[in-house]
């Protein structure tokens, strides 16, 4: 007896070959290989530890499974009783039938109500677990070092707290419960089959066993096929984005036809793979159905032929038919939940991978404070490399920066100048040597004191999507409106503020996108001014900004630096010219240091840079 189990539920991503999110982040796509059982169990065990809220959900799921098994087994058993004993010698046994039916009705009704509460509880506990897991993972990511948080990995990190958690949610809401419910139901149905007729039960089981390897085989093929679809989809997407992003080039060079041909090819290749993958899913379900029906036919045939000798009754054989159907029913669901399980385990594995990353820069408890006012810096034999091992980015660097001095750090990309600056505000700890600020080893300074007294102004000038005022306040939560207004005044930015549509209450847009790079940097400078740090580290912007803003930045910088130690990662020679001390980095070494004039006179690396600058701009 086949219920209508064949509804069009395909494995996740099968319908459209992957969600856009998965495309944006290749690492979020489900792993093509099938996980080994031991590994998967270990992942689930660790996952339970990472989100203990799941445990109470697990109990709920088991209760739910028992209930629905009871509910679904009621009807076939009722059938058997009534067919065999409901009518005796052509007379209806009214009392017996009524009692049985009312009892069955009550059982199904009670199960229904109990199911409602059990599944609601399960739902609530798994959603709390997911919210907890999401937030804890998010918090952990923010504690990780900057080398983990770098640009290329950001998309993947976002996936950890969105897609990956969602695969687990999907699993908990459908797949996971399916496993428990289906297995319970199949065990229950099989037990009932054994009671009805152990011979037929074993025969049915023997006939259904081949289904397992066959379905596994087809599913493997299907997973691979959808994987190919996914990579074709991302291919198509690449070509589509070329049409959109390269529109000007395509037109200016008149290569429309060629582009159209490439796109046609990509769309066609994707279509071919979609149809091929679809062929698998078109075959998987009917295969199970066909083998199931064959088993059913065998049970009926053998039951009718040999049943009387085995002491069967017609009611029992009819019940057998219903039970075999009940036993087959979860198979389709199970094969679906298998995919979800796989995805969930892959998701869990990735999340656990992030949670397992050590926090590289732990704050000391309790830490020492830093003095107010300008801070001096002593860098003592500092070496650094990213990750575990790898080439040294800084090699035995020692330098002293007096309090209140203005320092420019110059060097080519890869020279180590940016890393040097990052160590000064403890975005990472040196692997050798020490950074001593205001007489304290940075590793001993409390996190709060470090953030208050040492300020990095990064060049990307990232702003949050709130007003300028709120962005400034992020630099010092207790700053009053008057102090914020004053900060802009102190930096000579009143004119600039006056030109903003809503003054300091102007919203900056997502990531500050509605402001120019230069304006974002102005806000970042004001944010530093409000906090009044003793050591200021500045990563100068490399991109050109419009002249007005450029001048405003230069003025603001000069005022911001007054009475503070400043270290600028200099991209402008004018900054270096104005600095008290210039540090020249080359391949991780501090190769020259001194005032601009001294270094020019020295005739070394810096002098060469200076000459080329003169030659080019004053030509």
């Amino acid at each position: 007896m086949s219920r209508l189990a064949d509804d069009d539920v395909l494995p996740p991503g099968a319908r459209d070959g992957g969600t856009p999110n998965e495309l944006a982040d290749p690492s979020a796509a489900p792993e093509p290989e099938l996980p080994d059982l031991d590994g998967s169990l270990a992942v689930l065990r660790q996952g339970l530890e990472a989100a203990p809220e799941f445990r109470s959900g697990l109990r709920g799921a088991i209760v739910l499974a028992m209930l629905s098994a009871v509910g679904r087994l009621t009807v076939p058993l009722l059938f058997q009783q009534i067919l065999d004993r409901g009518v005796r010698d052509g007379d209806l046994r009214v009392g017996f039938v009524t009692t049985l039916c009312v009892a069955a009705f009550v059982v199904v009704g009670v199960v229904l109500i109990a199911q409602r509460f059990a599944s609601l509880r399960l739902w609530i506990s798994s959603e709390s677990a997911l919210a907890g897991l999401r937030t804890r993972t998010f918090a952990h990511i923010h504690r990780l070092s900057i080398s983990v948080q770098n640009e290329e990995k950001r998309g993947a990190l976002v996936s950890r707290v969105t897609n990956d958690v969602d695969t687990i949610a999907q699993f908990l809401e459908w797949g996971g419960i399916s496993w428990i419910v289906c297995v319970t139901l199949m065990v229950g149905a099989f037990a009932a089959m054994l009671v009805c007729s152990w011979q037929l039960a074993l025969i049915a089981l023997a006939m259904l066993l081949p289904l397992v390897p066959i379905l596994r085989f087809l599913q493997r093929g299907m997973v691979r096929a959808y994987d190919r679809v996914r990579s074709r989809v991302s291919d198509t997407l690449t070509h589509i984005s070329e049409v959109v992003m390269g529109a000007a080039v395509v037109r200016a060079y008149g290569v429309e036809e060629r582009t159209t041909a490439t796109i046609d090819e990509a769309i066609d290749a994707q279509y071919q793979q979609q149809v091929r993958a679809n062929a698998y899913s078109a075959v998987v379900f009917p295969t199970g159905d066909l083998i199931g029906s064959t088993a059913m036919a065998t049970v009926i045939g053998l039951g009718a032929w040999l049943g009387p000798d085995w002491g069967l009754t017609s009611g029992r054989l009819v019940a057998m038919v219903f039970l075999v159907a009940l036993f087959l029913e979860p198979l389709a669901e199970l094969s679906e939940s298998f995919d979800q399980t796989q995805n969930a385990i892959a998701g869990f594995r990735k999340i656990l991978g992030v949670l397992a990353l050590p926090v590289e820069v732990p704050d000391p408890e309790p830490g020492v404070e830093l003095d107010d006012g300008a801070l001096d810096v002593r860098v003592d034999g500092v070496s650094f490399h990213y990750g575990s091992g790898g080439p040294l980015v800084l090699d035995d660097v020692s330098v002293y920066l007096p309090a209140g001095s203005h320092v420019a750090v110059v060097g080519e990309t890869g020279s180590g100048k940016t890393t040097f600056a990052k160590l000064l505000c403890r975005l990472a700890d040196p692997v050798g040597g020490a950074v001593v600020v205001g007489g304290r080893d940075l590793r001993q300074v409390s996190g709060a004191a470090r953030r208050r007294s040492i300020r990095l102004v990064p060049q990307d000038g990232f702003l949050f999507d709130v007003s300028i005022r709120e962005n400034i306040r992020l630099g010092r939560p207790d700053a009053t409106d008057a102090e914020i207004d004053a900060a802009f005044g102190e930096l000579g930015l009143d004119d600039w503020v006056a030109r903003l549509p809503a003054g300091l209450d102007t919203r900056v847009g997502e990531r500050g996108d509605s402001m120019s790079v230069g304006e974002r940097q102005l806000v970042a400078l004001a944010r530093a001014q409000v906090a009044s740090p003793g050591l200021l580290i500045l990563d100068e912007a490399t991109s050109a900004v419009d002249p007005d803003t450029e001048q405003a930045i230069a003025r603001a910088l000069a005022r911001l630096g007054e009475g503070r130690t400043t270290v600028a990662i200099a991209h402008r020679l004018s900054t270096a010219e104005a600095a008290d001390l210039v540090l020249v980095f080359d391949q991780g070494h501090l190769v020259e240091q001194g005032a601009h004039a001294e270094l020019v006179a020295l005739g070394g690396r810096y002098a060469a840079l200076y000459d080329s600058w003169l030659g080019n701009t004053k030509a």
């Binding site: 009807v75 039916c101 997502e510 100068e540």
Partner: protein, 614 residues
Amino acid sequence: METTDISAADADGSVGHVFRRGLSLIAVYIRCHPKPFIVAVTGAALYAVTTVATSVVYGRITDHVITPAFDPDAGVTSSAVWAGVLAVVGVAILRALGIVGRRFFAGMFTARNQATLRRRVLEVYQQVPLAYHRAHPTGELLAHAEADVMAATDLLHPLPYSVAVLVIVVVSAVALVLTDPILAVVGLVMIPVLAVLNLTFTRKLEPLARASQEQIGEVSSTAHESFDGALVVKTLGLEDVEVRRFGHEAEILRARRVAMGRVRATYGPAIDSIPSLATIVLLAVGTWRLSTGDVTPGVLVQFASLFSLLTAPLRVISYLFFDFPQSLVAYARIRGVLEEPIPPKVTGTVTTLPAGPLGVRLDGVSFGYGDQQVLHDVSFEVPPGGTVALVGATGVGKSTLTQLLVRLADPDVGTLAIGEVDLRSVDPVGLRDDVAVVFQESFLFATSVLDNISLGAGFERADIERAARLAQAHRFITQLPDGYDTIMGERGVTLSGGQRQRVALARALVRRPRVLILDDATSAVDPTVEAEILGALRRELETTLVVVAYRTATISLADRVVFLVDGAVRATGTHAELLASEPAYEAMVRAYEQAATASELAGEMTGSGTEVHS
């Protein structure tokens, strides 16, 4: 594919209306690819009929095989047993065929329509004026070709199955009534109860599901923003603030999902239990009918089996309510693209450009995007073989001007002539050969370096290498893993900003253009290298050069400078003349000098803001 009047923009959400519009959208798709649809629906019908037939077969087997087999007075013949077994297997084979046909061709139907829609959207993208691309964010244009196409065809996939379910419900109801009208009453009462339950369920669930989906978007964008600002978060010690902010979004999501769970926990088990409850009633009434001899046990088996089929309409109803509106909205967006007017191809007589270097002349050119006027009455001239620098603040219209020069748009007023021929009457294909532009945003395709330079035109390898040498790109290209055959882009090698600009420049140079327009095309190249490139260009290429520039070194290479202010020409003259006569020009050049001389200190700029691994 036709674009009949299917617009989901009007917010008439009434069920009947959505249903009608959904059906006409489906009709559009069917007209586009009728064959796979017909096969899929035929498969669906076969599946539906055989599914109901299965129930009937079980009923018959109960009466003609099982009951007599256990009746000591009757007994069963082996031929009857075989007939029963073969009937079960035979019907199963037919049903399997129906499923395969339905699924395979339904998938093909959907995929074909997706491919068609995608092709048509991209055709439009290729043909609309560049202003259209300017006016729409990249993400939006990509979404129309990708996510919207998926959503617009979402209603197709379950279509054949839904047809099958409707057939099953109708055929079952008929089978019930024909077999035993009294017992059929139980079933016929159940159908509307299930329908109402499903309807209520879907209506309650759908807004909650949508709200959760939206909140997932919020969670994701919060995480995105927060991780993008990771450095700021770290340096300001905002971790706790951010965790609270994200936790808040996660909490809203949790609450919305629990609300969904409440609805599902209430309706799901109820809908699942109704066939069981109805079967119990059926058995109570049926046993009485059995005792009076009005029905056989087989009838009860058949009824119970049919009842269990009727839980399925759930999917169909949610399909009408959930997939229809979303697909309609997505399709309306696609239609917006497809209805975008395509400018007519140049017709009439076309002129070919004269031989030799070509002069450029602008005569009272004005241009705007919509209401926004960008260029006002711009006039200047570049003699054949001359070099002109366009200088002006950001947003002054320099880039727009370069686009007009290669006819990516036509001026609203005034004329633009190259080689003394009005651009509007120049053969567009010939124009592409003779006038080349290099943009600041150097766009590279995800193919090899070689292909990026030739763009499929059959240039000699030697010419390509020569162009690359001229653009100072040959050396780094040969150092790439596969040299000129190295694949660019996401799955290949990522070049630095300066390297990309040089490849883009080689792309223009290999064409030996007679007018070359450089729109700040070497901004990310080291100044020393830039000077070498421009010097070589002037020496080795007989071309008229228009450069948009910021660096003094570049500007001073030009014979003449056109100084633009607010979309109009403020002054023209040599660099030295303008420095002397225009204070605004001098101030600007000084400021840019400061800003743009960054690179010799920073090394060649990589274009990426934060360099972590320095």
